[in-house]
Symmetry: C2
Subunit: 330 residues, 2 copies
């Protein structure tokens, strides 16, 4: 077994109380004693038992993170920044992946809730009332979704959408198809609303196809639907769908960026792998994660439930997948 407080105490000829204090609240201990204890503790390789500490403190120093799909490139940067920030603050991170199964989301969150001080749910799809109830049971912060009675960190897609529509309009497009994300996705609604507004402002006709799951395969399906329509510009719910569209269209001999323009959302690293590269609305994923941790830790330490919503800006990153539409489709 590992070295215990008692062993350190014995080696120092002091009580466990003193060792405990020396290590957690150094002020309260005589400087000499403290140095001696610190030295011995180091020599023995002492590390406090999480279980012991947790039992008395009631805290776990761990936060839980629930994501829909680690394999979706949108989430790794968020996970990374959550971990980095949590680590800075001496918290461990327990991760659960729902594999896009909405039904498991709440169950996984509840499962984690026994072992963590607070929870971060990224892009949850569970019904709002359930989320509000969850947030009443323990500190929870939502990423990519606003929930009544809980803190959240969301994206303001308006700016990016406005830029995207203006960009297409400046190229000569007058019609845009939205390739919708999952029906019950909160951010799908946000994105659709933002796009809808931007189109109205710019006098652009908006159509819609979908819903599509945020996966490359679904994008390929979208491509075929898109090709049989009369629209030369598409904005997809996310990069994966956009990439699937591009891949499939290219395979079918179309020139993306010339015959058809495609815009994604997320600006994931993948946007630069394809040829042409994908024009995409940039989402500050890393900030999403660290802001969520900050919000959660505030809540843990202040012991109140702030319903703050942090909003992060988006902007368009123009690459090769958008261009002037063919004559007949202007």
């Amino acid at each position: 077994m590992a070295v215990t407080l008692a062993e350190v105490a014995a080696a120092c000829n002091v009580s466990t109380s003193t060792v405990s204090r020396a290590l957690t609240d150094p002020e309260k201990v005589n400087a000499e004693t403290r140095t001696r204890i610190e030295r011995v503790a180091r020599q023995l390789g002492y590390a406090p038992s999480r279980a012991g500490r947790s039992l008395v403190s009631g805290r776990t120093d761990t936060v839980g993170l629930v994501v829909p799909d680690i394999a979706n490139p949108f989430f790794p940067p968020i996970i990374k920044s959550v971990q980095a920030r949590a680590r800075d603050k001496r918290y461990a991170v327990l991760i659960a992946d729902t594999d896009e199964h909405v039904a498991d989301e709440l169950e996984l969150a509840r499962g984690l809730s026994r072992q963590v001080d607070g929870l971060i749910l990224a892009s949850p799809r569970t019904a709002p009332a359930e989320l509000t109830r969850l947030a009443q049971q323990l500190p929870v912060v939502f990423v990519n979704r606003e929930v009544e009675g809980a803190g959240s960190v969301v994206i303001d897609e308006n700016e990016g959408m406005q830029e995207a529509v203006e960009h297409l309009v400046s190229l000569g497009h007058r019609r845009i198809t939205y390739l919708a994300g999952p029906r019950r996705s909160w951010s799908n609604q946000q994105r659709r609303d933002a796009l809808s507004k931007a189109c109205a402002d710019n006098d652009v006709e908006l159509r819609e196809l979908g819903p599509f799951e945020p996966q490359i395969q679904a994008g390929m399906r979208a491509a075929d639907l898109l090709q049989s329509s009369e629209v030369a510009a598409a904005i997809a719910y996310d990069d994966l769908i956009a990439l699937g569209v591009m891949s499939r269209l290219t395979e079918r001999g179309m020139q993306v960026g010339r015959e058809i323009s495609v815009i994604g959302i997320d600006d994931s690293p993948l946007s630069t792998v394809t040829h042409p590269m994908l024009t995409s609305i940039h989402v500050p994923a890393a900030e999403l994660g660290s802001a969520a941790v900050d919000l959660l830790l505030n809540q843990l330490h202040d012991d109140e439930t702030p319903t703050t919503t942090v909003k992060l800006e988006t902007r368009l990153v123009i690459r090769g997948s958008t261009g002037i539409p063919p004559e007949n489709l202007r």
Copy 2:
């Protein structure tokens, strides 16, 4: 606070011992009492405190997983399968991402070691002696690396490499360039050796460029080096490098699959996003993860340190990025 054993006991008019037994070792309790306790526990929403249980059992029911880079699409499937298998066995998973910083690897592993029963290290780059020492301190299973004195799950790249080289030879290639991975990477050595052997067997000339980090950007750098060489076939250390190569070559106007053939390793979902799609050596990522969990849990329960090495097969998946070389480069 949450409901405790004592509260359940009080509500049932029995001792905490009995409640504890009823819930963990039902055989030992009178059937009627047990049912009553179970019902009350459920009504009260009782869930055992991990800390309390952990303190007496000495176990945490948690395993740690250290990966070099969650954002590398090779790892998410492994993480997912580790989580799924661990969850089946009632273990939680604590994840740490080293961000490709070799120096942090051991530190993160040691940090986790206080809070877990065992550790899985995926594609570690730390020196062998250190890894062996770590494995002496707690149960550890290595993925993608063989370590003396510890269990590991690795890939046998021979089969896939052999197929890859034969495939290129059958198309008419006589020269292949290996785009090497990180210098100290164990699997880079394995892959190079397998390729080297396959080339010798097939009388193919082997060249090498690199090392390259497993990232798309590095692949773009590789592309430029490759283009100025006289070789029409490249096998990359992984898909990311291969994708970077393709992206950059396409951008520079070359026809991948005709003027130059590119093969990746991992067969990640990205292989199908590009055009042409990437020919790649398939690695059974999901099995890598679940086999690692199985090995680790065996070790935890048997309390011995098996040095078993599980080897998983690879095979070539042919797509559009490989083809007949130009006349002058056969």
